[in-house]
């Protein structure tokens, strides 16, 4: 969520400390991992707010015309399958808007289901699915652009 390793480690530390301090408040109403993840997400969001970065709820339509994935059904570029490498994918994920990145990482990288993501992030299941789809479309666009740029480099 932060795209910065040192910052992520500091926030990991803070999340675990909060876990220890608040462990007695865990009521077992959700899975422990969900509760921990929720705490971690809140730690990050508070940190981003303190940094003055605008944190917009996922429920809102936040994307600008530029951010929105292009609805391009035309096959002008070769398919991506077989040409995605890990570094390019990681760079593309880091380039995603924060809301897209959070949902994508939780679902496609870490394997959480939409009902769990909704509880962790505090959005609806429908919104989680919608954001995930937009994230994937945006990644496709970024990866195709990155491949095209690499192809024209001397």
């Amino acid at each position: 969520m932060t795209t910065n390793t040192a910052e992520a480690e500091d926030l990991t530390q803070e999340a675990f400390l909060q876990l220890f301090r608040k462990i007695v408040t865990f009521r077992g109403e959700s899975a422990f991992s969900t509760w921990l993840h929720r705490m971690a997400v809140n730690v990050v969001l508070m940190h981003l707010r303190k940094k003055g970065l605008q944190v917009v709820p996922l429920e809102e339509t936040t994307e600008t015309e530029e951010d929105a994935p292009k609805k391009d059904f035309g096959a002008q570029d070769p398919a991506l399958a077989g040409s995605i490498d890990r570094i390019r994918l990681q760079n593309a994920i880091a380039s995603l808007p924060a809301g897209y990145r959070t949902i994508f990482v939780l679902h496609d990288v870490e394997g959480y289901e939409h009902n769990e993501i909704a509880e962790i992030v505090g959005c609806s299941i429908g919104n989680s699915k919608s954001q995930l789809h937009k994230a994937r479309m945006k990644l496709r666009e970024l990866l195709k652009t990155s491949r095209a740029e690499k192809a024209i480099q001397p």
């Binding site: 390793t5 992520a8 480690e9 990991t12 530390q13 675990f16 400390l17 220890f20 301090r21 609805k71 059904f73 035309g74 096959a75 398919a79 991506l80 399958a81 077989g82 995605i84 890990r86 994918l89 990681q90 994920i93 994508f104 496609d108 990288v109 870490e110 394997g111 699915k129 919608s130 995930l132 789809h133 994937r136 479309m137 990644l139 496709r140 990866l143």
Partner: protein, 210 residues
């Protein structure tokens, strides 16, 4: 079905929910078929991405903070003495310690029997266990480079970085203990540094065994 209508079913299709009308459209539309193929490739590669492990510094800071807040008790070695790192023989320091204790007890007994009031042996009962502080090169049973070569290529840079940090931590702690040999905090930090290095090795060996 148009491509715009098809896109509404895309999220469920990528996640494995097939519908007959979708299959029909995919059979007719090369662009949508390629879109589905691309999105599935992205999901597949994403599942193979490894999440980064925090460096040993994170766990050390968590432990230190929790101990300072009284939420956990400080970790002591068995017997409350400074034990050597687990990788080395446990018996190496027992003989000199035992010898010192025997000498010390013997001296106490002698001083009591002789009843010398101005004896200088009053301090012999206060013994600090000898601190066996191995040099960093003796600590390594594995060569650091050999360890790094055993982990997956995608993780080597992170492990090399962690080893550099923890070796620097060990060096600092060793120098501190050399300057302050009687300082319990200096001993504690040196042991913590060794344990951090052991954590890095354990993590690397567990991963390479998977």
């Amino acid at each position: 079905m148009t491509c715009t209508e098809f896109e509404k079913y895309l999220p469920d299709l990528i996640d494995g929910e097939a519908r007959s009308e979708n299959a029909a459209h995919l059979g007719e539309c090369a662009a949508c078929a390629e879109l589905v193929s691309d999105l599935k490739a992205i999901c597949s590669e994403a599942r193979n991405l490894e999440t980064c492990e925090p460096s040993p510094r994170v766990w050390a800071n968590i432990q230190r903070t929790l101990e300072a807040e009284g939420l956990i008790r400080p970790v002591l070695q068995p017997g409350g003495v400074l034990a050597e790192p687990r990788r080395r023989s446990f018996g190496a320091w027992l003989l000199p310690l035992t010898a010192l204790i025997v000498l010390g007890v013997g001296a106490l007994v002698y001083s009591n029997r002789s009843a010398v009031s101005n004896s200088t042996t009053s301090n012999v009962g206060v013994l600090k266990p000898p601190v066996v502080v191995p040099r960093a090169s003796q600590l390594d049973e594995f060569d650091d480079e050999q360890l790094v070569s055993q982990v997956a290529p995608s993780m080597r840079a992170a492990y090399a970085d962690n080893l550099r940090n923890v070796n620097a931590f060990i060096q600092d702690a060793q120098e501190d203990l050399k300057l302050n040999p009687d300082d319990d905090d200096a001993r504690h930090f040196l042991m913590e540094a060794y344990e951090q290095k052991e954590s890095v090795y354990d993590l690397a060996m567990n991963r390479s065994a998977q």
